[in-house]
């Protein structure tokens, strides 16, 4: 279970929390006043009052102990920078995602310790451009990336002893056998580098590699269950 603390704009916080998978994520909104917190609680969401400027209150919210992800959604970039610096000082392994208002603040937030910067205006601009130039592709990716339909993309890490280990990519034939499209593989040796499956047909899979697949939810679920099986069990199945 991923534990998430969300600070800042209640509107943005609501947008994100409502889209998180409740089975894998547990989010709490830290509001600055009782009214904000009450609005969240009315919707059945977890919320607490807290002041991001006070380290003790951050600790009370779970930063430095049980929180895995921190979302900084303040309207002012300076507030996001301050929260990021404070949280990073409390927890070195925390994943911090921050919103920016001014593009020039991106570097400051990264320097403060944020892992991912989200510029809503940039995303909106790109999205508009995509709809304009590739409407069909954008619609398909909307269905998959943003789960507006049963079609999804998913990532799957190959476990030790899985029947997928030592298999050649070209032999998987996921589209024929599992109704999935294998988009790419992240090699455990080069974590940040995604190799596209079309160009890596001769590659052998290892435990720890991550497969990125696209397909219907049921097919993804079935494949995830099957991927956990060992070679022998897979043959029997």
């Amino acid at each position: 279970m991923k534990r998430i603390a969300v600070f800042g704009s209640s509107g943005m916080a609501l947008e994100v929390i409502s889209r998180l998978d409740p089975e894998t994520c547990s989010a709490v909104y830290i509001g600055q006043n009782q009214a904000e917190v009450a609005a969240f609680r009315d919707k059945g969401l977890k919320a607490e009052v807290g002041d991001f400027r006070i380290d003790d209150e951050l600790k009370a919210a779970g930063i430095g102990s049980c929180i895995d992800y921190l979302f900084c959604f303040f309207a002012a970039d300076s507030d996001n920078v301050f929260l990021t610096i404070s949280a990073r000082a409390l927890d070195n392994k925390l994943t911090i995602i921050a919103l920016i208002d001014d593009p020039d603040s991106a570097e400051k937030l990264l320097a403060a310790g944020a892992n991912k910067i989200i510029d809503p205006y940039e995303i909106c601009g790109r999205k508009t451009h995509e709809i304009l130039t590739k409407p069909e592709i954008t619609n398909i990716l909307d269905q998959t990336v943003f789960r507006r339909h049963d079609l999804n993309i998913a990532q799957l890490e190959i476990a030790n002893g899985s029947w997928l280990e030592k298999r050649k990519i070209s032999s998987l034939k996921l589209n024929e056998k599992h109704d999935l499209i294998l988009i790419g593989i992240v090699d455990k040796a080069s974590v940040d580098d995604l190799h596209f499956a079309i160009e890596e047909q001769e590659k052998y899979l290892d435990a720890g590699d991550i497969l990125v697949v696209m397909g219907p939810t049921r097919a993804i679920r079935a494949f995830k269950e099957r991927a956990a099986l060992t070679s022998e069990l897979n043959h029997q199945a």
């Binding site: 909106c124 999205k127 130039t133 069909e136 619609n139 079609l151 596209f196 160009e199």
Partner: protein, 534 residues
């Protein structure tokens, strides 16, 4: 009988497509300021004028040979043809005839041919006495042998440049726009010269010990002094003359400053119009232009992407800071309110625009622009930004095809990043075309080798492509599994091997751009082969 013949001929011209087309062609060539043809023609004519003037200078002390003479005559012929064409396109005589004929028929009054001829002649004379037409005529006439004595008028060929060089045209427009100020200045100048020349003549005549022998010398001296040139060939000797000289020099400085300020202020006033006229002229020539309403952060991102993809666009915004930023980036910009019909019409919404993007940070403005755009062009694509969820439906009601909420998309992106960061980055890389791998659609054209083929028979691997799915509206596919509705179409994810492609289907493929291009090329080639499916 003759009258009926003229009326018949006028009707013929009115309905003749060839005649209208020819006249329109020459109008575009000679007069239409938005025509590319005119721009080329103007450059050609500037070249001819310059060559003819150089020949003229050459002729002063040298005999021209037969080739040069032929060249000179060819240029004159072009000038004559141009003059006659302008004479022809200046107005439509047949319209004058028809207008009066129909009026006479309707009111049952006699149709007077003499009145028509008079009207036509008036129109043509109106053209002939227009300044530019006079310049054209004076540039041609001296070339006619019996009128060689008019050779001095050959200099008028240089004045022909007024027609072709926009900046000269603009300067004359500025002078015209400030004629009241310039007229006032000219009267004052004339008055000063008059006073100055009389005064200097009184002080500096030979009887008073000066050098100025007549009134012409006095006027000459006054002009030279007032303009602050001061040749020094005539100098005042008497104290009175020197006082007049000093007064004239100071007044001259004032007049020069006044003249400069008139011209500069006229240029400043005209600058905005000049910029917008240039933008409008350029917009007329560009096809499939995208209109971006609002140059805030979202608008800037879109403009940057469009610029990168060399897709033409124009920005409309009322904000002065946004105007400066857009101009700094050399973008086509209209400094106006995008919700005004006229502004959108100028931007080409009814003609050559393909989409309108409403990207302002104000939902009210976006709704209004969307509604205006939809009214002006029912078929244009409108994509609008929304800032508050409750306004999404209002934008769709106003006519938007797509509505984008920045914070909703950001929220989805954050949620997806938390859930599946690797998958999310992979898709983001594809969308942004950062990883050299693209997702593209390839249309199944009628007559191509894949029309009617089964998926299993198509060699995607040769082009290193991966088939993700097929987008189609064809009812034959409805029996297949994995069908997802997609804006009036169906997306068939991972189609089975026996899925048979139909004309108009869109293949969704993943691969390198070079692979996609190669596959498209193979399909196009297959359509050209003899015996290709038609």
């Amino acid at each position: 009988m003759f009258t009926r013949l003229i009326v018949y001929f006028s009707y013929f011209l009115q309905t003749s497509g060839a005649y209208q087309k020819t006249k329109q062609f020459f109008f575009n060539l000679l007069e239409n300021p938005h025509s590319r043809l005119k721009a080329y023609f103007d450059v050609f004519m500037i070249g001819l004028v310059m060559i003819s003037v150089f020949l003229l200078i050459y002729e002063i002390d040298k005999e021209i040979n037969a080739i040069q003479l032929f060249f000179e005559e060819s240029i004159i012929t072009i000038f004559i043809v141009e003059y006659l064409l302008r004479f022809w396109i200046y107005n439509d005589n047949h319209k004058i005839v028809l207008e009066h004929y129909e009026k006479a028929e309707y009111l049952d009054i006699p149709f007077s041919l003499s009145k028509i001829i008079k009207l036509i002649l008036t129109k043509k004379i109106e053209y002939m006495i227009s300044p530019l037409a006079v310049i054209d005529l004076l540039a041609i006439l001296p070339s006619y042998r019996p009128l060689r004595f008019l050779r001095i008028f050959l200099i008028f060929r240089l004045f022909k440049l007024f027609r072709y060089v926009n900046s000269i045209k603009l300067f004359s427009q500025i002078l015209t726009s400030k004629r009241f100020e310039l007229y006032t200045l000219a009267v004052f100048l004339g008055f000063l010269i008059f006073i100055g020349s009389i005064s200097i003549f009184l002080f500096e005549n030979p009887q008073s010990g000066g050098h100025i022998e007549n009134l012409f010398d006095a006027v000459y001296w006054a002009v030279v002094t007032l303009s602050t040139v001061g040749y020094g060939d005539i100098t005042p000797l008497t104290p009175g003359g020197r006082v007049v000289a000093m007064a004239l020099i100071f007044t001259g400085l004032g007049i020069l400053s006044f003249f400069t300020s008139i011209i500069v202020s006229a240029f400043t006033d005209k600058m905005q119009d000049m910029r917008e006229n240039r933008t409008f002229a350029e917009l007329q020539r560009i096809e499939n232009i995208i209109i971006i309403c609002g140059f805030g952060r979202v608008g800037r991102h879109i403009a940057r992407q469009l610029k990168k993809n060399q897709q033409p666009f124009v920005i409309i915004d009322t904000n002065a800071a946004h105007a400066a930023a857009a101009r700094h980036l050399n973008y086509l910009f209209i400094h106006a309110d995008a919700s005004k019909n006229e502004v959108l019409k100028h931007a080409g919404i009814e003609k050559n625009a393909s989409a309108v993007l409403c990207t302002t940070g104000n939902d009210i403005t976006n709704v209004y622009i969307t509604l205006t755009s939809r009214q002006l062009n029912p078929d244009i694509r409108i994509i609008s930004r929304v800032n508050h969820n409750e306004n999404i439906n209002k934008l769709y009601q106003a006519g938007a095809n797509h509505v984008i909420h920045p914070f909703e998309i950001a929220g989805m992106a954050v949620a997806e990043y938390v859930g599946q960061p690797v998958a999310f980055e992979a898709i983001l890389g594809i969308i942004r075309e950062e990883k050299q791998i693209v997702m593209e659609t390839i249309c199944v054209q009628g007559g191509s080798s894949i029309e009617g083929s089964k998926i299993a028979d198509i060699d995607f691997e040769h082009s290193k492509l991966m088939l993700v799915g097929v987008i189609s509206t064809h009812p034959a596919h409805q029996k297949h599994k994995n069908s997802y509705p997609l804006k009036g179409q169906d997306f068939y994810f991972n189609p089975e091997k026996y899925f048979e492609l139909q004309q108009g289907d869109l293949l969704v493929v993943l691969g390198r751009q070079v692979g996609v291009d190669h596959f498209r090329y193979q399909l196009e080639k297959s359509r050209l082969k003899p015996g290709a499916k038609r």
